[in-house]
């Protein structure tokens, strides 16, 4: 927890830490946000398209190092018009997946807007808000967004980039775990700074979302 805590006591005090994290996935209509989530959480893929309206929330428990992470992942409708509406769901999130479809250049071009939109809703001063970019549908033949272009864009913005396929389960787990670990780091950072700044007596109040 804190640096004041003697090293030897750590395992005794935290046999296994539990952290709740809220992640969101955004991106243009039909890029495969829901499919990516289903692949990650349920290990399934559906050929049929099922539109998402409002929000749908999935949860998954993973173990990272010595911490149990309870991920709460918010899936939102991707039509441009819904952006103002779904942006209320970004509040309090610890990390974000930006998704696009490598066969759809428009979905790639829209990433910047989605990103700005998310950052505007998060604490605007924060530079370290974790985001990863997923180029989905690499299993399809008619790819339109070159890998180098996508990679370059992400590098310029300092975001990890993954080429993924929700259908064939390529790189999906890796991408989510990188985001989860970054979100965890950020979470630990905020907890520590809270402890340094002032001692909060209500434990975990800002982050705990379980009842």
């Amino acid at each position: 927890m804190t640096s004041a805590c003697p090293q030897a006591l750590k395992p005794l005090m935290n046999p296994r830490k539990k952290v709740d994290l809220k992640l969101i996935i955004v991106g243009a209509l039909g890029v495969g946000k829901t499919s990516l989530l289903h692949q990650y959480v349920h290990k399934t893929f559906f050929e049929e398209y099922q539109t998402t309206l409002g929000a749908s929330i999935l949860s998954k428990i993973i173990i990272l190092d010595d911490t149990t992470l309870k991920l709460q992942i918010w899936d939102t409708g991707g039509q441009e018009r819904f952006r103002s509406m779904v942006s209320t769901f970004y509040k309090g999130s610890d990390g974000c997946v930006l998704a696009f479809d490598v066969t759809d250049p428009e979905s790639f071009e829209a990433l910047g807007i989605w990103r700005d939109d998310v950052l505007a809703k998060i604490n605007p001063m924060e530079q370290s808000y974790p985001m990863v970019v997923l180029g989905n549908k690499i299993d399809l033949e008619d790819r339109k967004v070159p890998q180098e272009v996508a990679r370059g864009w992400c590098k310029a913005k300092d975001m990890p980039y993954f080429e993924v396929s929700a259908k064939n389960d390529i790189n999906v787990v890796q991408a989510f775990e990188v985001l989860a670990s970054q979100a965890l780091l950020r979470y630990q950072g905020t907890v520590e700074s809270h402890l340094v700044d002032s001692i909060k007596l209500s434990p975990g109040q800002p982050k705990s979302r379980c009842c």
């Binding site: 049929e48 539109t51 409002g54 929000a55 999935l58 991707g78 018009r81 509406m85 979302r209 009842c211």
Partner: protein, 309 residues
Amino acid sequence: MKGGPYHDMLHSILGAYTCYRPDVGYVQGMSFIAAVLILNLDTADAFIAFSNLLNKPCQMAFFRVDHGLMLTYFAAFEVFFEENLPKLFAHFKKNNLTADIYLIDWIFTLYSKSLPLDLACRIWDVFCRDGEEFLFRTALGILKLFEDILTRMDFIHSAQFLTRLPEDLPADEVFASIATVQMQSRNKKWAQQQCSGVLLTGVSQELGEQRREQSLQDCVTPLAISLGLAGSPENSLVGGAVCAAERQPGNGKRKPIPQTLRLRGYLHLALKQSSTWHLYAFRLKPVKSRGSFRVGFLMLELALKQNSS
């Protein structure tokens, strides 16, 4: 799905709609509404009913994603939520479970995505008669039916439960639950007025103001009114006929929720009087010629031919 039954019909209707209302265009969720209509009507009639259904103020607010107006709807919903189910309301509040999480899906698709088709049709049935109030009443009915379970759930489980309702929802229990919901909170009630204007007396003046403006716009297209699918049922042809048949002694009492599936009847009755409305649509809103809308054009031509013969 492409190649599946009704795919082309659905495509025509949605395409034609984007021609008729380019200002609204295609919005996610529309296909669910169109699908229900296709199952009950032929293509041309389904298109007419679809357009007029979407001309209703509540549907317009949602499909145009008029965020301010939607929030007002949610706020109004919460007034009745707290009144009817104070315990669950407090529980949701504590867990930060806001109404938009489940209401967006329910209201956009008029329950056709979240409920079994036969149950959704029965809800449409009463919605055609009672108006938008019934959509929100239904939401409260569902919450009430599952109040005990939901009060014991944490945020994530409640949210998941409500965004994916059980598939085997017992229709009779749902309706029995809806029937016990009071849409009157002290001096506030969800009142609807003619020409698709809706006022939430006492709940929100603002909504009324915004509405009045919008309903004037809606009035420009007399089709919606002549169809009876828009506006207050009492003042429309369909609703009027049905309400007259149902009118009870001691008017003012709430009419019982009909137990039979009458959607077909409502829609056909609505369509009887509508032969020329889409001509109005053409004159009022010249359709922009864009290649991708050709399907829509063909559909409109078809509709014109069918109605003029």
